[in-house]
């Protein structure tokens, strides 16, 4: 889901960069420096996750894990995902450097949304509800990211319905896998280190 160099138009690149800059500013301002290692750890997880390729379905898809990043970081998902994507672009040639703004926004804003929706549920009493919330965060983040990428491509003239259908279908296995991974990690953290799911996020 990395958009490559030369696909998007200049206004779209500019808009994405502006939105990402705003997200980064809020993320950095809200970031509690005592939780710096956590942000760095999640950036590393996001950076490496893209190498895990899932050979199911018609297209070339890989793990994103932005739902997990969002759930554990809240607003700080913006800087974490930005750093991860920048390094992927430079070292792996995934996605264009000029498209970094659009790519960061399309990955980090669903992460933040999932944090708002699901993070309170993961802290609740009910284990089943927490598991469901973990699954929801993992899969919904990928779904919304796919739709945002489709939207960006639609603005450059591709047909939206066909495009989003293709992207969502290609990422369907990823949604399921990430839902399960995120639910398992939430369950583990509830037992081992509930503070990581703690109120207030970062």
């Amino acid at each position: 889901m990395h958009i490559a160099e030369g696909v998007l138009t200049a206004p779209l690149l500019g808009g994405g960069a502006a939105l990402t800059a705003a997200g980064l500013a809020v993320g950095l301002k809200k970031m509690d420096y005592d939780k710096l290692p956590r942000v760095a750890l999640m950036a590393a997880v996001f950076f490496v996750a893209s190498l895990i390729h899932v050979p199911i379905g018609p297209a070339s898809v890989h793990l994103v894990l932005n739902g997990l990043v969002g759930l554990l970081l809240g607003w700080a998902a913006f800087p974490a995902i930005f750093v991860g994507l920048a390094l992927q672009a430079v070292l792996f040639q995934y996605g264009g450097l000029t498209a970094l703004g659009v790519n960061t926004f399309s990955m980090a804003s669903p992460a933040l949304l999932c944090y708002w929706i699901f993070a309170p549920l993961t802290r609740g009493e009910s284990r089943a509800l927490a598991l469901a919330a973990g699954f929801g965060a993992g899969s919904l983040a990928v779904l919304i990211s796919s739709l945002l990428v489709a939207l960006a491509l639609w603005l450059t003239g591709e047909a939206f319905v066909g495009m989003s259908k293709a992207l969502v279908l290609a990422n369907l296995p990823i949604m399921l896998i990430e839902g399960v991974i995120t639910a398992l990690i939430v369950d583990f953290l509830r037992k081992a280190r509930p503070a990581m799911l703690g109120a207030g996020g970062i």
């Binding site: 490559a4 390729h53 070339s60 792996f92």
Partner: protein, 202 residues
């Protein structure tokens, strides 16, 4: 405790990576070569996925569209070699924001710098004695068919070379480099924080 969890997470990721190999990726590649008056090539994703049914466009040095083709089920395309000013740029649109290009120099196109086909190995001894005229004609025919035969035989080698030139896979070094950068950024942020604290105290 946090250290232990981080370590576990990183180890789990490392194990996943090893099991998945570093093959998985998301970058699109395209290469092209000239064989027997046709422009051939292939589009693929690292890890073996073929870019099927994708649009391929060829542009000349001034950016003028020279021709278009579609890749088949093997990810391959072929079109009559268009005329234009070299170098050509072959652009593959793999959909969903994937795009790759490959540049074909005048040399690779078998053209002299002016864009004209290179004179076929000069005139075969123009001043041949009249007695050998018949031999000269057959020599010209021989050169032509030999040229075609060589093109045919060398096609796969050219394809492989083009693929090697365009394909720089992801190495473990890249992954380690990225993780190192993240660690470094974390250190930098911590350093800035401590400096600010010192300033406040002093």
């Amino acid at each position: 405790m946090f250290k232990k969890i981080s370590l576990c997470l990183l180890l789990a990721l490392a194990a996943l990576l090893l099991s998945a190999g570093l093959a998985g990726a998301h970058k699109t590649n395209v290469f092209a070569y000239v064989e027997d008056g046709r422009l051939m090539g292939e589009g693929y994703f690292p890890g073996g996925g073929k870019a099927q049914g994708c649009k391929v466009e060829v542009f000349d040095a001034s950016g003028k569209l020279l021709g278009a083709a579609k890749t088949d089920a093997q990810g391959q395309f072929s079109m009559p070699l268009p005329q234009g000013r070299p170098p050509f740029k072959v652009v593959l649109q793999a959909g969903e924001g994937h795009r790759a290009d490959y540049s074909l120099s005048a040399q690779e196109l078998g053209l002299a710098d002016g864009g004209q086909p290179a004179p076929a190995a000069a005139q075969p001894e123009a001043a041949a004695p009249s007695a050998a005229a018949g031999a000269a004609v057959s020599q010209a025919a021989l050169e032509k068919s030999l040229g075609r035969l060589l093109d045919h035989k060398l096609g796969p080698i050219k394809a492989q070379l083009a693929r090697l030139a365009g394909d720089r896979g992801i190495s473990v070094h890249d992954v380690v480099a990225g993780l190192g950068y993240i660690l470094g950024l974390m250190g930098l942020a911590a350093y800035m924080r401590f400096r600010r604290q010192d300033g406040e105290k002093g």
